[in-house]
Every structure is written in structure tokens, then in C-alpha cells.
Amino acid sequence: VILLHRLASIVRWLLRRKTSEQELDSELQTFIDLSAADKIREGIAPEEAHRLARLELRGVEQTKERVRTYRHGALLDALGRDLRYAFRTLVKNPGLTIVIVLTLALGIGANTAIFSLIDALMLRWLPVRDPQELVLVKFGALERRALGETLSYPIVRALADQTEIFGGVGGFSAATFNVGPPGSITKVPGAMVTGGFYETCGVTPSIGRMLTRDDDKENAPAVAVISDGYWEREFSRNPSALGESLLINGVPVTVVGVSAPGFVGANVGQVADITIALAALPQINPKSAGLLGPGNFWIRALARLKPGVSIPAAKARLASVWPGISEQVISPRWPADRRKAMAQYVFDFSPGGTGWTFLREIYRKPLVILMTVVAAVLLLACANVASLLLARASARQAETAVRLAIGASRGRIVRQLMLESLLLSLSGSIFAIGLAWLSSRFLVNLIPFGSSPILLDLTPNWHILGFTIAIAVATGLLFGVAPAFQACAAGTSTILKESARIASPRSRVLPSLVSIQITISLVLLIGAILFVRTLQNLQNLDPGFNRSGVLLVSFQDGSIFRSELLEDVLHVPGVVAASISTDTPLSGSTWSEPAMPLGQPLPQNDNAIFMGTGPRYFETMQTALVAGRGFDESDTAKSRTVAVINEAYARRYFPDQNPIGQYLSTTARVGSGEPGKPRILEIVGVAKNTNTHGLRRDPYPVVHVPYAQLKGDFPVTFEIRVSGSLVSASAAIRAVLQQRLPSLPVEVRPLSAQVEATMVQERMLATLASGFAVLALILACIGLYGLLAYSVDQRTKEMGVRMALGALPNSVIAMVLWGAVRLVLIGIGIGLPVAWTASHWIQSMLFGLAPTDPRVTAGAVLLLVAAAMIAAYVPARRASHVDPVVALRHD
């Protein structure tokens, strides 16, 4: 309360400083008047009475000053004076000020930029009611350390019925909808949600209504809620959008509402422009109706616990009701032991107010690494600025001494210097915020994923502003300590002597600050080179196919495929080969089945990746065949079922045998046969291994079967090898296919982009880490240059004497360079162990090299020494040009 009063009084004082001065004046005047009046009444002459009254006050001004010091304004007043003084000092030396502010802007800006990415990806609340109350439902076997986050549609619905535990449960999953009439179909990012989703989140419509439980019933009319952005782009914010029909997969879906601005679903980074109830899935995509069954776990759920129910209580109650519920929501087709195991699964909750995104899993560690890197850059910038300020402080020793001599307290001088530091760091942070905002867009572009763009809200908010100001203040205090300390340590008497500047022993602080900078930049350089080499190793890795010059076109529904389509594509100029397959390597989705040599029992779990491929698939992908043949036109739905296995499969299941002509049995739906009975495949070829899952993983055993022999629904991807420009070929291919398939959106993408997408983490780390390392190196070189230039300047006289005594310019250069080399060597000596220790922390992110790779270390050291020598040569040359006559007259 007292604090509030004080605060209020400071504000009052600021608002009416004038009036309060006047008030004090007239109050004291009243005192004098009243006192004098009493004295006159006692018979003292008026003039004498007034004099006596004044005396009583013992000096009007002194009393006023004492009152002022009691008022908290006084402190502010003094601060204001100091601030003005600090400001004038900084303006007086614009060059130094600009260098310092820019250095800080880069250091703080790097931190703000990375932090704003972390904030957008991990910390930002969803724009919903009381987001801190939302929890994400987790589910899985108790023995497993990490529970899963995906649930089946029946489970989410069953949870929503537990009104004794939950205030609401809403399931959601990102989706992409094909919207529009045939011929002009666009892909629109969206979401499918359960009926309780909007109610649970507490999101309100800006017009119309949100989806409710009634919309999420079997055979309810298909309706959609659109985002504010989609309403703006497609309907120009016209309220008549309500009741309009969107054609999704050719099925009309009525728009019933527009969600409040800002809310774009619970998938962070993936904007949901159109949101539809899950129950409408069979209407818009009959083939996917099975996804609503009890066997598919793909929906995440946000929940709000019932008021008064704690998380442990909710878990306990769920544990007691789950066995009962599980009977209805577990697929009856599953084997009994699996059903029994699932009946013993447990639920848990994690904070859900920040939504969910797969990006968090991918980028958590890279972002933590980058945050450490930028913190190191900032530390380096602090050392840099501190050394600049120290150099200036010695130039200001005379000023400090005068201030001390005329009675300024040391505290006052320290306050003054700290204020200057804070002023510098806060001005730096203003530029930093701008810098971070500009660069954060570039940062988001570094994290593309597949074909859907990542849209993150990066507008500066209070988190980011608070973070920036906090680190700016911390920075200011950090780099301000050294000069302030030095100013205090100096005594008044010595400094006022003219020669003191030369006589004073040279500070150890300045060189050690430079060595710190060398240390940090060496550590960052080694880290950056490790990441760059990792990326290069991955890029140079042979994945078993040639990714350049191949275009891909994918369709979810393989039944659209006719061989004429492939004929049309082959006629496009520049196309040299084309084939089809169920999926492509590194696409992120794979199909797996049990498959064993004939005669061996089939395992319970899938042991092979399956891929349906068309004729000339291996030629098109340029995957070498080790033995036998690939598929051709003779492999049809009616011919005998055949397979091409890869080396990994051959090595594991046919060791020391020729697999050609051997047979496989599999549950895969290939060829004709009795349902439920394994099919027999004859192996006709062995292909080289390809990386199907990721470049870092060893190749899996793969079984290729002819696409034409597949039974059932499979997706289809065209692989088209092109000679010449990919851009013009992809436009032509798109035009040809779109004409043939008017009701589907045709997207042509390069295979190389799909491969690159598996390296986004590595690319981001390599790009940013090397950017920051270069920044660090430049700052460290500036620091080194500054120190040498300063010391050469200070030692002009000494240089002059040396030259006069016959020292050669080269030996002077060598002397200065040797000083630099010593600092650099100290920095490297400390930096190497630090770098080696730190690099073990990133070992899991490296590929194809050890964290202490000697070539990497040597490269970093060489680079650093070269840069340092360049920085040192300029002042060294200047030292060798000192004219002895001029130098001896110096001072």
C-alpha cells in the first residue's frame, strides 16, 4: 500500500511539479506571515517581526531543499539531470555511440529474433477464453514413458460425454480441402473438429454461429465455419457469406459462421481457413469414412476440466471409467490381447493453451541451440562494448577526477556511468526490435515443411518486448560494470597529474575482454562448421536414387490413374522418362506389411516397406538394379505376381543366396486370392538400397510390387524425369494433367525439394549458426582492432623512442602483431576445450563427423587467426609509421 502511495505521489509530482513548488512556497510564506503576525501582536515592530520569523525557519531555501529530498521526486530529479548528462556525453562522441548501439542492436536483435520464433512456436497462447485452463489429452500404455497424443474419433466423443470430469472436450485435426468447381479447384488449409471443439475453446463467431454437437452427428448436413481471413479474402467481409455453399470435393458445404478474428484453429503454424465437423467426413470424402472408426488414432483433443476437478482427480476418475468405455470404443476387429492391453491404457494431460504443432518436436532442440548461440553472441557484444567503454573511460579519467575532487560521491559517478550504459543498451534494443521483426520473416521461411506453408504470428507482443527490455537492461549492467569499477578504483590525486595517463599501469581487463571475444567466436565457428559439414554430408549422401531433374505429381485417389495420363506426360517436351508409384522415398508416408520368404511364418508386425511401382520406375528414379529385372508392361493385373526386393531385404532374408526366382509370402493386397490368405510373390529383381524414411536412417528392407497388381485403394504419384528446365516442364505437365483431371488440383513439385525438406533442421542450423558465427568473428575482430589501435595510440612515445634508437619498421609491426597473437592464442587455448565440451551436446544432430573432428577444429582456428591478423595489421602498420620526432613531442 505504501508503495502504491509512493508511486502515486511520484506521478502526482511529475504531473504538477510546478504547482507543488508553488504550494511549498506559499505554505512557508503563510508560516512566516502567521508567525510575524503573532510577534507584532506581542509588540515587536513589523519589520523586526518578519526578520525574526524568517530566522525561525532557519533559511527558507534550506527548509525547501529538505522538504524536496523527502519528496520522492528529488531522486527522479537527480536521475533526470544524470540522464541529460549521459545523453549529452553520448551525443558528443557520435562515432563511438553509433558503433556501440549497432553492436548492441545486432546482439540483442539476434536474441529477440530467435526468441520471437520460440515465442510464436511454443509460448503464444491461442486466442481463446482462459487458454491457461486448456489441457491436451494424452493416452497410452502406462509402461511407455511418453504417452501418445492421438485418439480415435469414438474415444474423443466418449470423453466429451464424461461431464463429471470435463467442462468440455474438443477433438481437432488439420486437413486440406479441395475447394471450388471443376476446373478451378484450389487447396484450402482447414481443420476437422468434433462438435465440442469451439465450445471447449470458448471461441465466438463474429457473425453466424460456430459448429456445435448437433453438427457432429451422423448424417447431419455438412456445414463449415470459416476464418476471418478467409471471409475477408473470399467474401470481402460480406455478411451474405452466411448460407453460401462451398464446393468441397464437389460436395456443397454451407457456411454457417465466421470465427472471431485471430483464431485460426489449434494447429499452430497451420492456418485453418475452413473448419468442418468430423461427422461430415463421409459426405465430403466417402473413401475416408473409415477414419471415424475405432481403429484410427489421428485426432488430438483439447479439454477443459470441470471447475473444481484437479488434474490428478480427473486422471483418477478417468482411470475408473475407462475400462467400461473401452469396450465400446476399441475396434472389435483387433486381436484380444491388444484390446485387453488397451483397456489398461491411461490418460494424462499436458498444458494445451498454446495449441499443438508437430513443428515443436522438430525445432525444439535447434531453437535451444540457436538461443544458446545468440546468447553467446550477445555476451561477445557485451565484452566488445565494455572494452570500447573502458578505452573511453581512461580518456575520461580527468573528467572523473574533477568530478570526484569537487565532491561528487563515487556512488553518483557509478550511477552516472551505469545510466550511460543503460541508455546505450536501450537505444540498441530499439533498433534490435526492428531488426528482429524484419528478420523473423526470413527465419520462418527457413522452416518450410512439405507443401503447406507455415504461418506463424510473429508480431511483437509483450513477451517479446519484455524479453528484449530485460536482456537490454542485463546487457547494460553487464558491460557497464567494468568501466564503472575502473572509474571508482582510480584515486583523485594521481589522475589529476598530467602524466598520470602514461604512468598508470596498463589494465589487464582490456586484453582479457578481447580474449573472451576470441574464445566465444572460436566456439561459435567450430559449431557452425560442424553444422555446415553435417548438411553437406547429408546432401552428398547417395540416397539410392537421383533426385535432380525429377518432378512429382501426387493424387490421394489412385483410381484416377489411366495409362493415357502417362502417355500424355511423356509427350511433354523435355520429359525423358516417367513412371508411377504408390509413394516416393522420403515423402514422409510409407506402406508396410509383413513379408517373409515362402515357408517361414509371417510375423505379427510389419517387417518390410512396400511400394507399388509402375514400369520403368527404377530407370526413372535412376536406382540401379543389382540383379534381375525391373517391372515392365508384361506385369499386369492378370499375370503372375512378382516382386523386386532391395539389397537390405535380400541381405536380411536371403543371406548367401540368390534371391532371384525365390518366393515371398505376404499379407499385402496384391493379385487375386482368397481374402485373409497370404499371397505369393516371385522375386524377379534386386534393386540398390534407397533411403525411404530419412537420410540419417539405414535403409529399410523394401519390397516393390507392380502397381498394376495392387488390389484396393492406393494413392498414386507420377515420377517424371525431365531434361532441361524444371520450371517450364512443370508448367507444361501441370497444364496437360489439369485438363485431363478437371476436378482435382494438380500440383507439380520437384523430388529434390522433397529430399531437401528432410534436411530443414540441418539447413536452419547451418544457415543461422554460420551467420551468427560470422557476426561473432567480425565483432571479435573489431574488438581486437580497437584494443591494438588504442594501445598503439597510448604507446606512441614508446614507439618513437624505439624508432629513434634504430628499430626497423618491420620489427615494430612484428611486436604489435605478437601482442595480438598472444591474445588470440589465449582465446584459442580457452576456446578449444569449451568447444569440444559443448559440441558433445550437439553430437546427436551431427552426421558423418565427430564433434572433435580435427579438420573442423583446424579450419576454425585458421579462419580465426587469419581474420585476427587482418584486424591486427592495420594498427601494426600505423605503429611502424610513427615519426620519432613527432612522437617524442607527444604529450
Binding site: 503563510t30 502567521l34 532557519r58
Partner: protein, 108 residues
Amino acid sequence: MEKLDIPQGTLELMILTILSREPMHGYGISQKLAALSHDLFQVNPGSLFPTLYRLEQDGKLKAEWRASDNNRNAKYYKLTASGKKQLEQHRQRWDRISFAITNVLEGA
């Protein structure tokens, strides 16, 4: 007559006590203090005003400008609720201190 120094920390208590009877201006307080102490205490305005300002800032006193008895515009101070509580506490503490001192002196 020889004047006494006002013991440390008691000026605030005396100001609050005087103001608890009626609102008063600075000069009035100094006069009242002198009168009540039979002229043994003479408060120095250089201590009085800073104390008044501090009490006002801490919300123990409220001030308003109005005409004094002889038609001068004067700043009148008056106790706030929080000031009354403060007085109560100070008063109790003071009573215990003086009780204790008296006991010590008479017991010795």
C-alpha cells in the same frame, strides 16, 4: 527557559496527536506543540515541514487549502484513516516505552 530537543521519532507521534483533535496548518501545529509542552519543545520548521510532507506522501495525512482564522490562505493538514491507525500504534508503543522506563527508573 532552556528548550529541549525533541527525542528522535517522537515528532511524528506528536504531530499525529495534535492533528487527531482538529485539522491545522503548519504554523498552528508548531504553536500548539509549544503550548502543550509548556514551551519546553520548540519544533524547528526545517524538521516540521519535511515530516509533514512525508506523512502526506505516505497517505497518513491529507492536506487542503483554506482560509485561516485571520483570513490567510493556509494549508490545513488532517488525519486520514491510515493516519489514525498509525497514531494508535505509535501511541501504544510509546505508552509501553514510558511505562518500561518509569519502572526501570523507580525500581533502581
